[in-house]
Amino acid sequence: MLREIKFVLQLIKLNIASAMEYRASFLMQAVGMFINNGIYFVFWILFFDKFGELRGYSIDQIFLLFAIITLGFGMALTFAGNANRIAEFVAQGRLDYYLTLPRPVLPHLLFSWMNPFTFGDLSFGVISYFFTGRFDPVSIVLTFVSAVLAAVIFVSVFGIFGSLAFYIGNAKEITFFLGNAMISFSLYPIGLFQGAVRLILYTLIPAAFVGAVPVEIVETGNLKLLGYLAIAAAIGATLMTVVFQTGLRRYESGSAINVNM
């Protein structure tokens, strides 16, 4: 385990070095994502300024929701940048490189690329957190841990949907669609959704686990709920590993030209 962590750290170092080769482009992408998030943010500020509250959420909870989601999503794709590209790798037969090296394929693939856009998410998450005004150590630790668990869930969901490519050929669109749906639903107060939709948000598209649940954990300091979130993250990661490893037996390679960026 320790040697795998050391290896992943080495990959992350290399990813940062690779991203730094194009500093201007890197900064522009990160700033672009920051602005993109900011537009949503401004919308909610204007909304709550007019209406005050929405299904139990005030602007303070929205700041916290944004902070956790953008930190979680940012961490997920900053470190495991290939999480939402698994379907492409499988469909185009680009796993050969990973299969010829003596490392587990899934972590090696996940951590082999850093998405520069997500630096914008990370920095946005930190700034959003400043808006919450929660500077006590407990809240900071709970927010950080919840964001890390949200990151694991994001990676797992992308990984599971992407691995469907082993079975259905091309799962790029479904990964994109369901990934976007998860992010979009998670950015709204959970009280807006009832019945079947709410069930979906706790199962098939687990948006609640990356938004509403972590917000409740930080707000209430409920460690039991944090434990449940950790269990959900562990189930997600296990499921992703099983779906990927089982699918890998069906991998057909291909003649596409690869480049490690």
Binding site: F7, L14, D96, Y97, L99, T100, R103, Y251
Partner: protein, 341 residues
């Protein structure tokens, strides 16, 4: 000691068939049709430790599929494979510590970073002791002459420079077998020459087993003592490179330059005139029809000979003949199968 042992290795792929156009796409949604393609149809092969073997064949012959099964990338549909005592598709990770693989069109080096950074990553991947890694790296840098561009981003290297760095990266862990799939693809003559020399040196100095696939017959001639030819997923030739030439070289190319001009109607009995110049000619002679000495005597009695060369036809031509012969056998076999009883 055997490095590779294959017994009746097979690989089939299921391919979806779709009629052209939009209607074809819609039809394939509710009534998909599948074809089974046998990419490798039962290859049996044994390779000794330290051999440098050429594994050649036309496009779609099954070369890359075989290499991918040997490196654990693909699971075979049937048959057995053992590489250095490991079953590749079951013990991929253990095997990977002892083999190196280079796929000409699938670079391992990180594109935006200098090769030295990928080397460092590979030292971590293979868990090399840092001092041992540095020593090994310095040796390979020297052997492959890559010191001048070790710190240049890969995207700025020429194809030849990049390929030498690729080879260095795949040899850092001192593998026992190196799989080279089209290593000289796209290289110019000089770069090819440099690469071949480097491969030869490393093979000789380290008793490295090399499994080489290439479309470039020059690679085979320059490097390999044994050649295995596959076509349609089956081995059609497995012998020494010299035997390949002997068995299929039924003719010679003879170049002659006379001491005087030759007439326009110059011709040669029982031989093919490939080219006729003012002072000489190039002749293709089937030695089973007319002996070489007989032709030479005839040429010398025709006019004073200033220069004379006798050459084997290029290896490329020999292999093309084998492919063509195999292709016609394959077609005949197919036609016979299609004739109703």
């Amino acid at each position: 000691m055997q490095a590779v042992r294959l017994h009746n290795l097979k690989k089939t792929f299921k391919l979806k068939r779709k009629a052209p156009g939009l209607m074809g796409s819609i039809r394939s949604l509710y009534k998909p049709e599948w074809n089974t393609v046998e990419a490798v149809k039962g290859i049996s092969l044994e390779i000794e430790q330290g051999e440098l073997l050429a594994f050649i064949g036309p496009n779609g012959a099954g070369k890359s599929t075989t290499i991918k099964m040997l490196t654990g990338i693909l699971h075979p549909s049937e048959g057995e494979a053992e590489v250095l005592g490991y079953v590749p598709y079951k013990q991929r990770q253990q095997l990977a510590y002892h083999i190196g693989a280079i796929f000409g069109q699938k670079p391992q080096l990180w594109y935006h970073l200098p090769p030295i950074d990928t080397f460092e990553l590979f030292a971590h991947i293979y868990e090399l002791d840092y001092t041992a890694y540095q020593k090994r790296r310095d040796f390979l840098v020297e052997a492959l002459q890559i010191q001048d561009f070790l710190e240049t981003p890969v995207r700025k290297l020429s194809l030849g420079q990049r390929m030498r760095c690729e080879i260095a990266s795949s040899l850092l862990h001192a593998p026992k077998i190196l799989f080279l799939d089209e290593p000289t693809i796209g290289l110019d003559v000089i770069a090819k020459q440099h690469l071949r020399e480097a491969i030869k040196t490393l093979h000789e100095e380290e008793n490295l087993t090399i499994f080489l696939t290439s479309h470039d017959v020059g690679d085979v001639e320059a490097l390999c003592k044994r050649v295995v030819i596959i076509n349609h997923g089956q081995v059609i030739f497995d012998d020494k490179t010299s035997a390949l030439k002997r068995q299929y070289l039924t003719h010679k190319i003879i170049g002659v330059r006379f001491g005087r001009e030759i007439p326009e109607d110059f011709s040669v009995r029982d031989a093919e005139l490939l080219k006729r110049g003012t002072w000489g000619a190039k002749i293709r002679l089937d030695t089973s029809i007319r002996p070489v000495d007989d032709l030479i005597m005839a040429l010398m009695s025709y006019a004073p000979v200033v220069d004379l060369t006798i050459e084997d036809p290029p290896m490329e031509e020999v292999i093309r003949e084998i492919y063509t012969a195999q292709e016609s056998i394959h077609l005949n076999h197919k036609e016979q199968q299609e004739v109703p009883a």
